[in-house]
Protein backbone atom coordinates (compact mmCIF):
# COMPACT_ATOMS: atom_id res chain seq x y z
CA UNK A 1 0.00 0.00 0.00
CA UNK A 2 1.35 3.37 -0.99
CA UNK A 3 1.98 5.44 2.08
CA UNK A 4 1.56 9.19 2.20
CA UNK A 5 5.19 9.32 3.27
CA UNK A 6 6.31 7.66 0.05
CA UNK A 7 4.11 9.96 -2.01
CA UNK A 8 5.63 12.95 -0.22
CA UNK A 9 9.14 11.66 -0.86
CA UNK A 10 8.43 11.11 -4.53
CA UNK A 11 7.12 14.67 -4.87
CA UNK A 12 10.01 16.12 -2.87
CA UNK A 13 12.51 14.30 -5.04
CA UNK A 14 10.79 15.34 -8.24
CA UNK A 15 9.99 11.75 -9.25
CA UNK A 16 6.80 12.53 -11.11
CA UNK A 17 6.23 9.04 -12.60
CA UNK A 18 6.73 7.42 -9.21
CA UNK A 19 4.47 10.02 -7.57
CA UNK A 20 1.71 9.35 -10.10
CA UNK A 21 2.02 5.56 -9.64
CA UNK A 22 1.91 5.87 -5.86
CA UNK A 23 -1.07 8.22 -5.96
CA UNK A 24 -2.99 5.82 -8.19
CA UNK A 25 -2.11 3.00 -5.83
CA UNK A 26 -3.29 5.01 -2.83
CA UNK A 27 -6.57 5.80 -4.59
CA UNK A 28 -7.09 2.12 -5.38
CA UNK A 29 -6.46 1.40 -1.68
CA UNK A 30 -9.25 3.78 -0.76
CA UNK A 31 -7.17 6.61 0.67
CA UNK A 32 -9.16 9.84 0.68
CA UNK A 33 -8.00 12.06 -2.23
CA UNK A 34 -8.01 15.18 -0.09
CA UNK A 35 -5.80 13.45 2.45
CA UNK A 36 -3.41 12.44 -0.33
CA UNK A 37 -3.33 16.03 -1.54
CA UNK A 38 -2.92 17.72 1.82
CA UNK A 39 -0.84 15.27 3.81
CA UNK A 40 1.12 13.72 0.97
CA UNK A 41 1.69 16.38 -1.62
CA UNK A 42 1.11 19.79 -0.08
CA UNK A 43 3.14 18.74 2.94
CA UNK A 44 5.97 17.85 0.56
CA UNK A 45 5.82 21.26 -1.12
CA UNK A 46 5.99 23.00 2.24
CA UNK A 47 9.16 21.05 2.99
CA UNK A 48 10.51 22.01 -0.44
CA UNK A 49 9.75 25.67 0.19
CA UNK A 50 11.51 25.59 3.55
CA UNK A 51 14.54 23.75 2.17
CA UNK A 52 14.82 26.31 -0.62
CA UNK A 53 14.69 29.17 1.85
CA UNK A 54 17.36 27.38 3.90
CA UNK A 55 19.55 27.03 0.77
CA UNK A 56 19.51 23.24 1.03
CA UNK A 57 18.03 22.87 -2.44
CA UNK A 58 18.09 25.08 -5.49
CA UNK A 59 15.90 26.15 -8.40
CA UNK A 60 16.09 22.90 -10.44
CA UNK A 61 15.10 20.82 -7.41
CA UNK A 62 12.15 23.13 -6.75
CA UNK A 63 11.06 22.96 -10.36
CA UNK A 64 11.13 19.17 -10.60
CA UNK A 65 9.28 18.87 -7.29
CA UNK A 66 6.66 21.36 -8.48
CA UNK A 67 6.24 19.38 -11.71
CA UNK A 68 5.73 16.19 -9.72
CA UNK A 69 3.16 18.03 -7.64
CA UNK A 70 1.38 19.27 -10.76
CA UNK A 71 1.24 15.80 -12.30
CA UNK A 72 -0.03 14.38 -9.03
CA UNK A 73 -2.75 17.01 -8.77
CA UNK A 74 -3.84 16.18 -12.31
CA UNK A 75 -4.37 12.56 -11.21
CA UNK A 76 -6.37 13.63 -8.14
CA UNK A 77 -8.48 16.30 -9.82
CA UNK A 78 -11.36 14.04 -10.94
CA UNK A 79 -11.61 12.57 -7.44
CA UNK A 80 -11.73 15.80 -5.52
CA UNK A 81 -15.24 16.80 -4.38
CA UNK A 82 -14.85 20.42 -5.43
CA UNK A 83 -11.95 22.65 -6.20
CA UNK A 84 -12.76 25.15 -3.48
CA UNK A 85 -12.63 22.52 -0.77
CA UNK A 86 -8.88 22.13 -1.15
CA UNK A 87 -8.06 25.63 -2.26
CA UNK A 88 -6.86 28.62 -0.35
CA UNK A 89 -8.26 30.74 -3.14
CA UNK A 90 -7.31 32.08 -6.52
CA UNK A 91 -4.18 33.89 -7.53
CA UNK A 92 -3.72 35.85 -10.74
CA UNK A 93 -0.03 36.07 -11.59
CA UNK A 94 1.88 37.66 -14.42
CA UNK A 95 5.04 39.42 -15.51
CA UNK A 96 4.41 43.06 -16.33
CA UNK A 97 4.10 44.62 -19.75
CA UNK A 98 7.34 44.85 -21.69
CA UNK A 99 9.02 42.15 -19.62
CA UNK A 100 9.51 38.65 -21.00
CA UNK A 101 11.20 37.06 -17.99
CA UNK A 102 9.28 34.26 -16.37
CA UNK A 103 11.46 31.87 -14.42
CA UNK A 104 10.81 33.52 -11.07
CA UNK A 105 7.15 34.03 -11.87
CA UNK A 106 6.80 30.37 -12.85
CA UNK A 107 8.44 29.24 -9.64
CA UNK A 108 6.10 31.39 -7.58
CA UNK A 109 3.10 30.04 -9.50
CA UNK A 110 4.19 26.46 -8.91
CA UNK A 111 4.85 27.03 -5.22
CA UNK A 112 1.50 28.75 -4.76
CA UNK A 113 -0.22 25.79 -6.41
CA UNK A 114 1.81 23.55 -4.18
CA UNK A 115 0.38 25.15 -1.06
CA UNK A 116 -3.19 24.99 -2.33
CA UNK A 117 -3.91 28.07 -4.41
CA UNK A 118 -5.58 27.95 -7.80
CA UNK A 119 -3.25 29.95 -10.04
CA UNK A 120 -4.30 31.80 -13.15
CA UNK A 121 -1.04 32.50 -14.96
CA UNK A 122 -1.31 35.38 -17.41
CA UNK A 123 2.21 34.78 -18.68
CA UNK A 124 4.62 37.54 -19.59
CA UNK A 125 4.31 41.00 -21.10
CA UNK A 126 0.96 41.50 -19.40
CA UNK A 127 -0.56 44.96 -19.78
CA UNK A 128 -2.22 46.46 -16.70
CA UNK A 129 -5.60 46.16 -18.38
CA UNK A 130 -5.23 42.41 -18.65
CA UNK A 131 -4.79 42.05 -14.89
CA UNK A 132 -7.94 44.14 -14.47
CA UNK A 133 -9.94 42.10 -16.99
CA UNK A 134 -8.90 38.81 -15.41
CA UNK A 135 -9.84 40.07 -11.97
CA UNK A 136 -13.25 41.12 -13.25
CA UNK A 137 -13.66 37.60 -14.72
CA UNK A 138 -12.60 36.08 -11.38
CA UNK A 139 -13.97 38.40 -8.70
CA UNK A 140 -13.25 35.81 -5.98
CA UNK A 141 -9.49 36.14 -6.56
CA UNK A 142 -7.54 36.53 -3.33
CA UNK A 143 -4.15 37.60 -4.62
CA UNK A 144 -2.70 39.39 -7.59
CA UNK A 145 1.00 38.56 -7.91
CA UNK A 146 3.02 40.92 -10.09
CA UNK A 147 6.54 40.13 -11.29
CA UNK A 148 9.10 42.43 -12.91
CA UNK A 149 12.70 41.64 -13.68
CA UNK A 150 13.92 44.62 -15.67
CA UNK A 151 14.74 48.05 -14.35
CA UNK A 152 12.91 49.42 -17.37
CA UNK A 153 9.72 47.53 -16.59
CA UNK A 154 9.53 47.92 -12.85
CA UNK A 155 7.49 51.08 -13.39
CA UNK A 156 4.78 48.87 -14.85
CA UNK A 157 4.22 47.41 -11.40
CA UNK A 158 3.01 50.82 -10.23
CA UNK A 159 0.91 51.26 -13.38
CA UNK A 160 -0.71 47.88 -12.86
CA UNK A 161 -1.67 48.74 -9.29
CA UNK A 162 -2.93 52.14 -10.48
CA UNK A 163 -5.09 50.40 -13.09
CA UNK A 164 -6.62 48.21 -10.40
CA UNK A 165 -7.36 51.31 -8.31
CA UNK A 166 -8.94 53.11 -11.25
CA UNK A 167 -11.15 50.10 -11.87
CA UNK A 168 -12.25 50.21 -8.26
CA UNK A 169 -10.81 46.75 -7.65
CA UNK A 170 -7.69 47.45 -5.61
CA UNK A 171 -9.28 46.91 -2.21
CA UNK A 172 -10.78 43.53 -3.02
CA UNK A 173 -7.41 41.81 -3.55
CA UNK A 174 -4.08 41.36 -1.85
CA UNK A 175 -1.21 42.48 -4.06
CA UNK A 176 2.14 40.72 -3.91
CA UNK A 177 5.14 41.93 -5.89
CA UNK A 178 8.52 40.42 -6.63
CA UNK A 179 11.42 40.22 -9.05
CA UNK A 180 15.09 41.08 -9.08
CA UNK A 181 14.85 44.90 -9.04
CA UNK A 182 11.91 44.91 -6.60
CA UNK A 183 12.61 45.77 -2.98
CA UNK A 184 10.53 46.20 0.15
CA UNK A 185 10.79 49.96 -0.08
CA UNK A 186 9.65 49.86 -3.70
CA UNK A 187 6.74 47.61 -2.75
CA UNK A 188 5.80 50.07 0.01
CA UNK A 189 6.04 52.99 -2.39
CA UNK A 190 3.65 51.44 -4.90
CA UNK A 191 1.19 50.36 -2.24
CA UNK A 192 1.66 46.60 -2.56
CA UNK A 193 0.58 44.44 0.38
CA UNK A 194 3.60 42.18 0.29
CA UNK A 195 7.07 41.84 -1.17
CA UNK A 196 8.84 38.50 -1.01
CA UNK A 197 12.36 37.82 -2.25
CA UNK A 198 11.80 34.30 -3.58
CA UNK A 199 9.21 31.70 -4.48
CA UNK A 200 9.41 29.84 -1.20
CA UNK A 201 8.81 33.01 0.82
CA UNK A 202 5.98 34.01 -1.50
CA UNK A 203 4.18 30.72 -0.92
CA UNK A 204 4.80 30.88 2.81
CA UNK A 205 3.46 34.42 3.07
CA UNK A 206 0.39 33.66 0.97
CA UNK A 207 -0.31 30.47 2.91
CA UNK A 208 -0.14 32.30 6.22
CA UNK A 209 -2.34 35.08 4.89
CA UNK A 210 -5.07 32.79 3.57
CA UNK A 211 -5.91 29.63 5.46
CA UNK A 212 -7.48 26.62 3.74
CA UNK A 213 -11.18 27.13 3.18
CA UNK A 214 -12.10 23.68 4.50
Amino acid sequence: MASLQRIAEAVENGKNKEAVDLINEALRDGVDPQTILKDGMMAAMEVIGQRFRDNEIFVPEMLVAARAMKKGVAVLQPYLASKSSVQRGKVIIGTVEGDLHDIGKNLVAMMLEGVGFEVIDLGVDVPPGKFVEELKRNPDTKIIAISALLTTTIAQVRLTIEALKEAGLRDQVTIMVGGAPVTQSFADSVGADAYTPDAGSAAEWAKNRFSVLS
Partner: protein, 342 residues
Protein backbone atom coordinates in the same frame (compact mmCIF):
# COMPACT_ATOMS: atom_id res chain seq x y z
CA UNK B 1 49.53 43.14 -23.46
CA UNK B 2 50.29 40.62 -20.74
CA UNK B 3 46.91 40.20 -19.12
CA UNK B 4 48.21 38.04 -16.29
CA UNK B 5 50.32 41.05 -15.31
CA UNK B 6 47.24 43.24 -15.70
CA UNK B 7 45.33 41.05 -13.23
CA UNK B 8 48.29 41.09 -10.85
CA UNK B 9 48.45 44.85 -11.19
CA UNK B 10 44.83 45.16 -10.12
CA UNK B 11 45.50 42.96 -7.09
CA UNK B 12 48.93 44.11 -5.96
CA UNK B 13 49.29 47.47 -7.67
CA UNK B 14 48.78 51.00 -6.43
CA UNK B 15 45.57 52.88 -5.70
CA UNK B 16 42.60 50.95 -6.94
CA UNK B 17 40.08 52.24 -9.45
CA UNK B 18 36.40 51.45 -9.75
CA UNK B 19 35.58 49.01 -12.55
CA UNK B 20 31.79 48.88 -13.07
CA UNK B 21 30.29 47.32 -16.17
CA UNK B 22 29.30 50.65 -17.69
CA UNK B 23 28.73 50.50 -21.40
CA UNK B 24 25.00 50.59 -22.23
CA UNK B 25 24.59 54.11 -20.78
CA UNK B 26 26.73 55.20 -23.75
CA UNK B 27 23.45 55.31 -25.70
CA UNK B 28 22.77 58.58 -23.90
CA UNK B 29 26.10 59.99 -25.10
CA UNK B 30 25.59 58.71 -28.64
CA UNK B 31 21.93 59.75 -28.86
CA UNK B 32 20.95 56.33 -30.15
CA UNK B 33 18.59 53.65 -28.88
CA UNK B 34 19.76 50.31 -27.50
CA UNK B 35 18.17 48.68 -30.51
CA UNK B 36 20.36 50.79 -32.79
CA UNK B 37 23.44 50.22 -30.66
CA UNK B 38 23.33 46.43 -30.63
CA UNK B 39 23.06 46.33 -34.42
CA UNK B 40 25.89 48.76 -35.25
CA UNK B 41 29.58 48.10 -34.70
CA UNK B 42 30.58 51.75 -35.05
CA UNK B 43 28.12 52.83 -32.36
CA UNK B 44 29.46 50.08 -30.11
CA UNK B 45 33.08 51.13 -30.57
CA UNK B 46 32.34 54.82 -30.21
CA UNK B 47 30.22 54.18 -27.15
CA UNK B 48 33.05 52.32 -25.49
CA UNK B 49 35.45 55.16 -26.34
CA UNK B 50 33.11 57.83 -24.94
CA UNK B 51 32.77 55.90 -21.69
CA UNK B 52 36.57 55.49 -21.56
CA UNK B 53 36.95 59.25 -22.08
CA UNK B 54 34.59 59.91 -19.20
CA UNK B 55 35.81 57.37 -16.64
CA UNK B 56 39.28 56.24 -15.68
CA UNK B 57 38.76 52.49 -15.44
CA UNK B 58 41.24 49.61 -15.55
CA UNK B 59 39.78 48.43 -18.88
CA UNK B 60 37.14 49.23 -21.47
CA UNK B 61 34.36 46.68 -21.55
CA UNK B 62 32.01 45.87 -24.37
CA UNK B 63 28.29 45.19 -24.07
CA UNK B 64 26.88 42.31 -22.05
CA UNK B 65 24.27 41.07 -24.54
CA UNK B 66 23.27 37.53 -23.67
CA UNK B 67 21.24 37.07 -26.83
CA UNK B 68 24.01 37.35 -29.43
CA UNK B 69 25.23 33.76 -29.35
CA UNK B 70 21.76 32.19 -29.05
CA UNK B 71 20.56 34.30 -31.98
CA UNK B 72 23.47 32.96 -34.05
CA UNK B 73 22.17 29.45 -33.34
CA UNK B 74 18.76 30.49 -34.65
CA UNK B 75 16.92 31.43 -31.45
CA UNK B 76 14.38 34.25 -31.62
CA UNK B 77 15.69 37.57 -30.31
CA UNK B 78 13.26 40.28 -29.24
CA UNK B 79 14.51 43.84 -29.47
CA UNK B 80 13.10 46.59 -27.28
CA UNK B 81 13.83 50.21 -28.05
CA UNK B 82 15.78 50.79 -24.87
CA UNK B 83 16.08 47.28 -23.51
CA UNK B 84 18.89 44.84 -24.03
CA UNK B 85 17.64 42.14 -26.46
CA UNK B 86 16.20 38.99 -24.98
CA UNK B 87 15.52 35.51 -26.31
CA UNK B 88 12.04 33.99 -26.38
CA UNK B 89 10.87 30.46 -26.97
CA UNK B 90 13.19 27.51 -27.47
CA UNK B 91 14.78 25.84 -30.47
CA UNK B 92 15.73 22.57 -28.78
CA UNK B 93 13.09 20.46 -27.07
CA UNK B 94 13.93 16.95 -28.26
CA UNK B 95 16.98 14.79 -28.59
CA UNK B 96 16.60 14.91 -32.37
CA UNK B 97 16.67 18.71 -32.31
CA UNK B 98 19.71 18.67 -30.05
CA UNK B 99 21.53 16.26 -32.35
CA UNK B 100 20.71 18.23 -35.46
CA UNK B 101 21.46 21.64 -33.91
CA UNK B 102 23.94 23.33 -36.19
CA UNK B 103 26.93 25.03 -34.59
CA UNK B 104 26.96 28.47 -36.24
CA UNK B 105 29.92 30.23 -37.79
CA UNK B 106 31.32 33.49 -36.48
CA UNK B 107 29.47 36.11 -38.44
CA UNK B 108 26.08 34.44 -38.06
CA UNK B 109 23.43 36.62 -36.46
CA UNK B 110 25.04 39.67 -34.90
CA UNK B 111 28.30 37.96 -33.96
CA UNK B 112 29.97 39.60 -36.94
CA UNK B 113 28.83 43.02 -35.70
CA UNK B 114 30.18 42.45 -32.21
CA UNK B 115 33.54 41.21 -33.52
CA UNK B 116 33.73 44.24 -35.80
CA UNK B 117 32.75 46.42 -32.84
CA UNK B 118 35.79 45.12 -30.95
CA UNK B 119 38.05 45.64 -33.96
CA UNK B 120 36.92 49.27 -34.16
CA UNK B 121 37.06 49.79 -30.39
CA UNK B 122 40.69 48.67 -30.29
CA UNK B 123 41.51 51.39 -32.86
CA UNK B 124 39.86 54.00 -30.62
CA UNK B 125 41.07 52.82 -27.21
CA UNK B 126 44.77 52.34 -26.64
CA UNK B 127 45.32 53.41 -23.05
CA UNK B 128 43.74 50.34 -21.45
CA UNK B 129 42.79 46.75 -22.32
CA UNK B 130 39.58 46.11 -24.24
CA UNK B 131 37.45 43.33 -22.79
CA UNK B 132 34.74 41.66 -24.85
CA UNK B 133 31.70 39.71 -23.67
CA UNK B 134 30.49 36.16 -24.25
CA UNK B 135 27.73 34.06 -22.72
CA UNK B 136 28.61 31.00 -20.66
CA UNK B 137 27.63 27.49 -21.75
CA UNK B 138 24.81 26.76 -19.33
CA UNK B 139 23.30 30.21 -19.76
CA UNK B 140 23.46 29.72 -23.55
CA UNK B 141 21.77 26.33 -23.21
CA UNK B 142 19.04 28.08 -21.23
CA UNK B 143 18.42 30.42 -24.08
CA UNK B 144 18.32 27.64 -26.64
CA UNK B 145 16.11 25.33 -24.56
CA UNK B 146 14.13 27.80 -22.42
CA UNK B 147 15.51 28.79 -19.03
CA UNK B 148 12.76 26.96 -17.12
CA UNK B 149 13.09 23.74 -19.09
CA UNK B 150 16.88 23.62 -18.91
CA UNK B 151 16.68 23.41 -15.13
CA UNK B 152 14.42 20.38 -15.38
CA UNK B 153 16.57 18.82 -18.13
CA UNK B 154 19.43 18.65 -15.62
CA UNK B 155 17.44 15.82 -14.04
CA UNK B 156 15.19 14.53 -16.77
CA UNK B 157 17.19 14.90 -20.02
CA UNK B 158 20.87 15.16 -19.05
CA UNK B 159 22.19 13.64 -22.28
CA UNK B 160 20.22 16.04 -24.42
CA UNK B 161 21.49 18.92 -22.30
CA UNK B 162 25.09 17.73 -22.65
CA UNK B 163 24.70 17.64 -26.44
CA UNK B 164 23.63 21.29 -26.43
CA UNK B 165 26.34 22.27 -23.95
CA UNK B 166 29.04 20.71 -26.13
CA UNK B 167 27.84 22.61 -29.18
CA UNK B 168 27.45 25.83 -27.23
CA UNK B 169 30.98 25.55 -25.88
CA UNK B 170 32.34 24.79 -29.33
CA UNK B 171 30.78 27.98 -30.68
CA UNK B 172 31.82 30.08 -27.69
CA UNK B 173 35.44 29.05 -28.27
CA UNK B 174 35.25 29.94 -32.00
CA UNK B 175 33.58 33.25 -31.21
CA UNK B 176 36.09 34.23 -28.54
CA UNK B 177 39.02 33.33 -30.74
CA UNK B 178 37.56 35.72 -33.30
CA UNK B 179 37.18 38.42 -30.64
CA UNK B 180 40.78 37.81 -29.62
CA UNK B 181 41.95 38.06 -33.20
CA UNK B 182 40.01 41.31 -33.52
CA UNK B 183 42.13 42.71 -30.70
CA UNK B 184 40.25 41.97 -27.48
CA UNK B 185 42.51 41.44 -24.47
CA UNK B 186 39.99 39.31 -22.67
CA UNK B 187 36.39 38.35 -22.30
CA UNK B 188 33.78 38.48 -19.57
CA UNK B 189 32.17 35.05 -19.64
CA UNK B 190 28.66 35.57 -18.29
CA UNK B 191 27.18 32.47 -16.70
CA UNK B 192 24.33 33.82 -14.54
CA UNK B 193 21.93 30.93 -15.05
CA UNK B 194 24.44 28.51 -13.53
CA UNK B 195 24.26 30.59 -10.38
CA UNK B 196 20.87 29.00 -9.69
CA UNK B 197 22.24 25.47 -9.65
CA UNK B 198 23.30 23.18 -6.85
CA UNK B 199 27.04 22.51 -6.55
CA UNK B 200 26.67 19.06 -8.11
CA UNK B 201 24.67 20.29 -11.08
CA UNK B 202 26.96 23.25 -11.57
CA UNK B 203 30.00 20.96 -11.77
CA UNK B 204 28.38 18.71 -14.32
CA UNK B 205 26.55 21.23 -16.48
CA UNK B 206 28.61 24.38 -16.24
CA UNK B 207 32.05 24.31 -14.67
CA UNK B 208 33.36 21.44 -16.78
CA UNK B 209 32.40 23.28 -19.95
CA UNK B 210 33.69 26.63 -18.74
CA UNK B 211 36.99 24.89 -17.99
CA UNK B 212 37.15 23.57 -21.54
CA UNK B 213 36.46 27.09 -22.79
CA UNK B 214 39.12 28.66 -20.56
CA UNK B 215 41.69 26.03 -21.55
CA UNK B 216 40.99 26.77 -25.22
CA UNK B 217 41.12 30.57 -25.17
CA UNK B 218 42.95 31.90 -22.09
CA UNK B 219 46.61 32.74 -22.28
CA UNK B 220 48.85 35.58 -21.17
CA UNK B 221 47.38 37.84 -23.86
CA UNK B 222 43.73 37.02 -23.25
CA UNK B 223 42.11 36.62 -19.85
CA UNK B 224 38.69 35.20 -19.03
CA UNK B 225 36.75 37.05 -16.35
CA UNK B 226 34.05 34.79 -14.96
CA UNK B 227 30.78 36.61 -14.28
CA UNK B 228 28.02 35.01 -12.25
CA UNK B 229 25.35 37.16 -10.64
CA UNK B 230 23.25 34.20 -9.51
CA UNK B 231 21.98 33.96 -5.97
CA UNK B 232 23.51 30.59 -5.02
CA UNK B 233 27.06 31.61 -5.85
CA UNK B 234 28.23 31.64 -2.21
CA UNK B 235 27.58 27.89 -2.16
CA UNK B 236 29.41 27.39 -5.47
CA UNK B 237 32.88 28.74 -4.77
CA UNK B 238 34.58 25.40 -5.35
CA UNK B 239 32.84 24.92 -8.67
CA UNK B 240 33.66 28.50 -9.67
CA UNK B 241 37.34 28.01 -8.90
CA UNK B 242 37.27 24.75 -10.87
CA UNK B 243 36.61 26.78 -14.03
CA UNK B 244 40.27 27.79 -14.24
CA UNK B 245 39.49 31.51 -14.30
CA UNK B 246 41.71 33.88 -12.35
CA UNK B 247 39.28 36.79 -12.24
CA UNK B 248 35.70 36.76 -11.02
CA UNK B 249 32.76 39.16 -11.09
CA UNK B 250 29.75 38.69 -8.81
CA UNK B 251 26.29 40.18 -8.51
CA UNK B 252 24.43 42.01 -5.79
CA UNK B 253 22.44 39.02 -4.57
CA UNK B 254 25.46 37.76 -2.63
CA UNK B 255 27.44 39.03 0.32
CA UNK B 256 30.75 40.13 -1.16
CA UNK B 257 32.59 39.86 2.13
CA UNK B 258 31.55 36.21 2.43
CA UNK B 259 32.64 35.57 -1.13
CA UNK B 260 36.06 37.13 -0.55
CA UNK B 261 36.62 34.69 2.32
CA UNK B 262 36.02 31.80 -0.07
CA UNK B 263 38.21 32.89 -2.98
CA UNK B 264 42.02 32.71 -2.59
CA UNK B 265 43.67 36.12 -2.38
CA UNK B 266 45.66 35.75 -5.57
CA UNK B 267 42.45 35.73 -7.63
CA UNK B 268 40.77 38.96 -8.66
CA UNK B 269 37.26 39.43 -7.24
CA UNK B 270 34.95 42.19 -8.45
CA UNK B 271 31.44 43.42 -7.70
CA UNK B 272 28.78 44.15 -6.53
CA UNK B 273 26.90 47.46 -6.28
CA UNK B 274 23.35 46.81 -7.48
CA UNK B 275 22.79 48.04 -11.04
CA UNK B 276 19.02 48.24 -10.71
CA UNK B 277 18.40 49.14 -7.07
CA UNK B 278 21.25 51.64 -6.78
CA UNK B 279 22.73 52.72 -10.09
CA UNK B 280 19.40 52.95 -11.88
CA UNK B 281 16.84 53.55 -9.15
CA UNK B 282 18.92 54.88 -6.27
CA UNK B 283 19.74 58.43 -5.24
CA UNK B 284 23.30 59.80 -5.22
CA UNK B 285 23.21 59.71 -1.44
CA UNK B 286 22.24 56.04 -1.38
CA UNK B 287 24.96 55.21 -3.87
CA UNK B 288 27.57 57.10 -1.89
CA UNK B 289 26.50 55.35 1.31
CA UNK B 290 26.36 51.82 -0.02
CA UNK B 291 29.54 52.18 -2.05
CA UNK B 292 31.35 53.41 1.05
CA UNK B 293 29.91 50.55 3.10
CA UNK B 294 31.05 48.00 0.58
CA UNK B 295 34.53 49.49 0.44
CA UNK B 296 34.78 49.60 4.21
CA UNK B 297 33.71 45.93 4.38
CA UNK B 298 35.85 44.68 1.52
CA UNK B 299 38.52 47.30 0.85
CA UNK B 300 40.94 45.47 3.13
CA UNK B 301 41.08 42.60 0.65
CA UNK B 302 43.81 43.44 -1.86
CA UNK B 303 42.18 41.29 -4.50
CA UNK B 304 38.87 43.18 -4.34
CA UNK B 305 38.02 45.72 -7.03
CA UNK B 306 34.69 47.44 -6.61
CA UNK B 307 32.29 47.14 -9.53
CA UNK B 308 28.62 47.00 -10.35
CA UNK B 309 26.85 43.67 -9.76
CA UNK B 310 26.03 43.33 -13.44
CA UNK B 311 25.89 45.67 -16.41
CA UNK B 312 24.53 49.09 -15.59
CA UNK B 313 21.18 49.71 -17.34
CA UNK B 314 21.15 51.90 -20.46
CA UNK B 315 19.13 54.80 -19.08
CA UNK B 316 20.93 55.10 -15.76
CA UNK B 317 21.42 58.71 -14.78
CA UNK B 318 25.06 59.70 -15.24
CA UNK B 319 24.88 61.62 -12.00
CA UNK B 320 24.58 58.27 -10.22
CA UNK B 321 27.50 56.77 -12.12
CA UNK B 322 29.61 59.88 -11.47
CA UNK B 323 28.96 59.77 -7.74
CA UNK B 324 29.96 56.11 -7.65
CA UNK B 325 33.33 56.90 -9.22
CA UNK B 326 33.86 59.95 -6.98
CA UNK B 327 33.06 57.91 -3.87
CA UNK B 328 35.54 55.20 -4.80
CA UNK B 329 38.24 57.72 -5.66
CA UNK B 330 37.66 59.58 -2.43
CA UNK B 331 37.80 56.38 -0.37
CA UNK B 332 41.11 55.24 -1.80
CA UNK B 333 42.55 58.73 -1.56
CA UNK B 334 41.70 58.79 2.15
CA UNK B 335 43.20 55.32 2.55
CA UNK B 336 46.43 56.54 0.97
CA UNK B 337 46.57 59.34 3.53
CA UNK B 338 45.92 56.89 6.38
CA UNK B 339 48.77 54.76 5.05
CA UNK B 340 51.11 57.74 5.47
CA UNK B 341 50.14 58.65 8.99
CA UNK B 342 49.35 55.25 10.55
Amino acid sequence: MNMYNWVDGLIYGGRKKAFPLVTYPSVQLLYVTVRELVANSSYQALGMRLIADRYDMPAAVSYMDLSVEAEAFGANAVYGVDDVPTITGSIVETEEQANSLRVPEVGDGRTGITVEGIRKAVKLISDRPVIANCIGPFSLAGRLMNVNNVMVYCYEEPEMLHTVLKKGTEFAVKYCKALKEAGANGVILAEPLAGLLSPELMSEFSSDYVRQFVDAVQDKNFVVIYHNCGSAVEKLSEQILDTGCIAFHFGDSINMQNMLKLIPRNYLVMGNISPSRLFNNGTPTQIRLETTRLLEACGGYRNFVISSGCDVPPLTDFENIDIFFKTVESYYYRQSLYDIID
